[in-house]
C-alpha cells in the first residue's frame, strides 16, 4: 500500500496529513456529523449481524471497516445526484436517507428490493456483480440528454472489478464522456479471493487505459474520501467526464454471515487494519483538534443504541408478506400467466379471506 500514491488527509493516528492536491474543506460540525454517521452505521451493522445470528435475517453483508469510504462518498454527493450501490453500501444508503429497516427488508426475505430508489435517488442493491455500473452509465447518459446538473456515483468492489460489465462500463463512460464516478472499494477480498488475484496493477491505474483519471484514496480516511469524491463528482457535473476512485480499505468482518474469513486470512493482517480504523482516527482528531469530550461521544453512542433497538423492533415486526403480492409488479399490464397464478393461489386458499 505504501508503494502507491494514496490520498490521505488524516493519519491512522488522527493527525492531519498535508497533500499537494487536496485539503480538507470540512468544518468541525461536518466532521462531527460524519463521525456520528460512521458510529451509527457500524452500530446498526452489528445489530444486523446479531439479528442474523438469532435467525431473524436470512443473511447479512457487514460493512465494518468500510464506514470511512462509504460515509465519505455518500456525504460528497449532492441531493440530486444518483447512486448505484452494489449490496454492502449501507453507509451510502444511510447518507441518502434510506431508512435502515428498509435496507434490511431484503435480508429478512420480505422483498427483493426494499425502498423506492427514485425517492432517495439511491438505487436498489444489485447482487449480480457489476451489473449496476452499466445502469449508472446509462443513467448518466440520460442526465446528459436532459442537460441536468447531476452526477452519478456507482459502487463496486475489487472482486467485481474483474467482471466484464465493469470494464464495459468504463468503455461506455469514456466514449460518451458520461457524468459518472466509479467508486471501487478495494476491501482486499472477493469473499476469499485476494485483490492481488483480481488485478496485477493497482486498480485505480486501470482508468488510464480507458482514457480517464484514476485515483487511489485511503478508504479509511473519511476526510480524504470526501474531498476526492466531491472533486470527481464536480468534474462529472461540469462536463469533465468519468473518474475511477479506488478507496483502499479493508473488510474487517466476513463477506457475509455465511462466510468464515479465518479460513483464508491471518489474524496479524486483521490486527494491522484494526490500527487503521476509520472511526478511531476521526475520534482522535475530534479530541485533539476540537476538544470534543467523552459526554459528547456518549450522546452519539446512546443515539446509535437507540436506533439499533428501533431497527431490531422494526425487523421483528416484518411479517410474512401476503403470498398474492408475489404477482404484483411483475408486469405493468395485464398478463394471462399472472392471472393464472393468482387464481391458483386463491383457489388453494391463500387469497384474502382464504382458509390458509
Amino acid at each position: 500500500m505504501t508503494d502507491e500514491k494514496l490520498v490521505q488527509l488524516l493519519s491512522p493516528e488522527g493527525e492531519r496529513v498535508s497533500h499537494p492536491d487536496y485539503t480538507s474543506s470540512l468544518q468541525h460540525d461536518e466532521i462531527f456529523a460524519m463521525y456520528r454517521d460512521m458510529v451509527i452505521v457500524r452500530r446498526l451493522c452489528n445489530e444486523a449481524t446479531s439479528l442474523q445470528r438469532q435467525g431473524q435475517l436470512a443473511l447479512w453483508a457487514p460493512a465494518q471497516g468500510q464506514e470511512g469510504a462509504q460515509i465519505g462518498a455518500g456525504r460528497a454527493m449532492q441531493p440530486m445526484d444518483f447512486s448505484f450501490p452494489s449490496y454492502r453500501e449501507h453507509g451510502v444508503g444511510w447518507c441518502r436517507g434510506v431508512p435502515p429497516e428498509d435496507m434490511l427488508r431484503i435480508f429478512r426475505g420480505v422483498t427483493n428490493g426494499g425502498w423506492d430508489p427514485q425517492k432517495y435517488r439511491h438505487n436498489l442493491s444489485t447482487i449480480v456483480l457489476g451489473n449496476q455500473t452499466l445502469h449508472a452509465v446509462g443513467y448518466a447518459m440520460g442526465v446528459q440528454r436532459d442537460g441536468a446538473d447531476e452526477a452519478v456515483l456507482t459502487f463496486f468492489g475489487d472482486g467485481a472489478s474483474s467482471q466484464g460489465d465493469v470494464l464495459e462500463s468504463f468503455v461506455w463512460a469514456a466514449s460518451f464522456d458520461a457524468p459518472v464516478v466509479f467508486f471501487c472499494q478495494n476491501n482486499q477480498f472477493g469473499i476469499s479471493t485476494p485483490s492481488s488475484v483480481q488485478s496485477k496493477v493497482p486498480l485505480y491505474r486501470r482508468a488510464a487505459g480507458f482514457g480517464f483519471p484514476g485515483i487511489r484514496v485511503d478508504g479509511n480516511d473519511v476526510l480524504a474520501v470526501y474531498e476526492v469524491t466531491k472533486r470527481a463528482l464536480d468534474a462529472a457535473r461540469s462536463g469533465g467526464g468519468p473518474t475511477l476512485i479506488e478507496a483502499y480499505t479493508y473488510r474487517m468482518g466476513a463477506h457475509t454471515t455465511s462466510d468464515d474469513p479465518t479460513r483464508y486470512r491471518i489474524d496479524a493482517e486483521v490486527e494491522v487494519w484494526h490500527h487503521r480504523d476509520p472511526i478511531e482516527r476521526v475520534k482522535s482528531l475530534l479530541v485533539h483538534e476540537y476538544n470534543v469530550r467523552k459526554p459528547q461521544f456518549e450522546v452519539i453512542d446512546a443515539e446509535a443504541d437507540e436506533l439499533a433497538l428501533k431497527l431490531r423492533s422494526d425487523v421483528l415486526a416484518m411479517g410474512k408478506p401476503e403470498p398474492l403480492t408475489m404477482f404484483d409488479n411483475v408486469y405493468t399490464d395485464v398478463h394471462p400467466l399472472i392471472e393464472e397464478g393468482r387464481r391458483d393461489l386463491v383457489e388453494l386458499g391463500f387469497g384474502p379471506g382464504g382458509d390458509l
Partner: protein, 328 residues
C-alpha cells in the same frame, strides 16, 4: 384506408421513425446503426434525421448496450436496442434476465423497463455460424419479459410501434429471411393488439401454428395440402410470451389436429409449450397428438445444409399427412 406496399425492412424503418417522431424519449442504440443504418439497414437514415444523441452508435459490447439502456429506462428513456444478430445476444443475456426482466418487480413498480430489444433471428440466408439462430425460448422462459415476432410488413410496422409504446420490456424477433419480402401496410390503424395471435388462413382438417419466417412456409404447405384435399388453417402466434390461446383453441377444437412449425430446435421450445397447453385445453376435441415440426436438436449447421435442417414445406406436409393418418 391508406395502404402502401413495402418490404418488412422498410416497414420496420418507418415504424421506428414514427415512434421517434411521436415521443422524444425514444432512443435507438446498437452496433453500426447510425451512419451505416445497421447491417440490415433497418435504421437507415434515422441518425441523419434524429441526430447522434437519439440514434446511438454503440461500442461493440452487447451487455453494455442493454445495461446502459436499463439506466436510460430508469431515467424515463425508451431505448430500442438492436442486437446485430441472434447469436450475439448471449453476452447481454445476464443483463436481460437478471435486470431487465426483474427491475420493475424488484422496485415494487417504481422503475419501468420500457425497452425493446430487437433481434434479427432464424436462418435461411446462407450465413456463417452465429448468424442464423432461434434463441426465443430462452427469453420466453424468463418471467418479466414479453416476447413477440412479426411475420409480415404490416405487423412489422405496427408491432414495433406497439412494443415501443408498451411499458414492459419486450424482446422483438424479426425474421431476417423475410426482411426483403414485400407486403401491404395499412398506415392508419394497427391490425390488432401486440399480444394477440392471428388467423392467417382458415381450415377444417389441420391447424398449423407458426411465427416469424415459418408462417409463410406453413401458408405454402397449406396451399399444397388444399390441392391434395386437406383443409389447413394457419395461425400466426405473433406473441411468444404471453401466448394468446384464444384463436388457437378455437381452431384446434374445430380441426382436432394440430402441429407447431418452428425454426428453433424442438427440445424445451415454444412448440413444446404450445403442444402441452393446447393438448390440455383441447383434450376432448383432439383426433391425434399435437406435433412439432422443428429444426433438429443440433447446433445450427453450416449454411449449405440449412435447408435440410430447417422445417421445409415438405416436412410440414409430412406432418399434415401423419396427423391425417391418426384414426379415432
Amino acid at each position: 384506408m391508406a395502404t402502401t406496399t413495402m418490404t418488412m425492412a422498410a416497414a420496420l424503418n418507418e415504424g421506428l421513425r414514427r415512434a421517434m417522431e411521436k415521443n422524444p424519449k425514444v432512443l435507438l442504440m446498437g452496433e453500426d446503426i447510425g451512419k451505416l443504418g445497421g447491417v440490415f439497414r433497418i435504421t437507415d437514415g434515422l441518425q441523419k434525421d434524429f441526430g447522434e444523441e437519439r440514434v446511438i452508435d454503440a461500442p461493440l459490447a452487447e451487455s453494455a448496450i442493454v445495461g446502459t439502456s436499463v439506466g436510460l429506462a430508469m431515467r424515463g428513456y425508451r431505448t430500442v436496442v438492436e442486437i446485430q444478430f441472434d447469436g450475439f445476444v448471449y453476452p447481454a443475456f445476464d443483463q436481460i434476465v437478471s435486470q431487465v426482466a426483474k427491475l420493475h418487480k424488484r422496485s415494487d413498480g417504481a422503475y419501468k423497463m420500457a425497452l425493446v430489444i430487437r433481434i434479427p433471428f432464424q436462418g435461411g440466408i446462407g450465413a456463417i455460424e452465429h448468424h442464423s439462430e432461434s434463441p426465443e425460448a430462452y427469453f420466453a422462459h424468463t418471467a418479466g419479459l414479453r416476447v413477440v415476432s412479426c411475420s409480415t410488413p404490416n405487423d412489422a410496422y405496427w408491432m414495433i410501434q406497439q412494443a415501443i409504446e408498451h411499458d414492459d420490456p419486450i424482446v422483438f424477433f424479426e425474421p431476417k429471411s423475410r426482411y426483403w419480402e414485400k407486403g401491404e401496410v395499412d398506415l392508419d390503424a394497427p391490425p390488432q393488439g401486440l399480444f394477440e395471435s392471428a388467423v392467417r388462413r382458415e381450415g377444417t382438417d389441420v391447424t398449423l401454428l407458426a411465427y416469424g419466417a415459418m408462417v409463410k412456409t406453413c401458408l405454402r404447405a397449406a396451399e399444397v395440402a388444399e390441392g391434395e384435399g386437406t383443409s389447413v388453417a394457419v395461425i400466426d402466434v405473433r406473441s411468444l410470451s404471453p401466448l394468446d390461446y384464444g384463436p388457437m383453441v378455437a381452431s384446434v377444437e374445430k380441426t382436432g389436429r394440430f402441429a407447431v412449425v418452428q425454426e428453433s430446435v424442438k427440445t424445451a421450445s415454444i412448440g413444446s409449450e404450445l403442444v402441452a397447453e393446447l393438448q390440455q385445453r383441447c383434450f376432448y376435441s383432439l383426433r391425434g397428438p399435437g406435433m412439432r415440426v422443428s429444426s433438429y436438436d443440433i447446433p445450427y449447421p453450416p449454411s449449405r445444409v440449412e435447408d435440410e435442417f430447417r422445417p421445409s414445406v415438405d416436412r410440414v406436409l409430412d406432418a399434415i399427412d401423419q396427423l391425417m393418418g391418426f384414426e379415432q
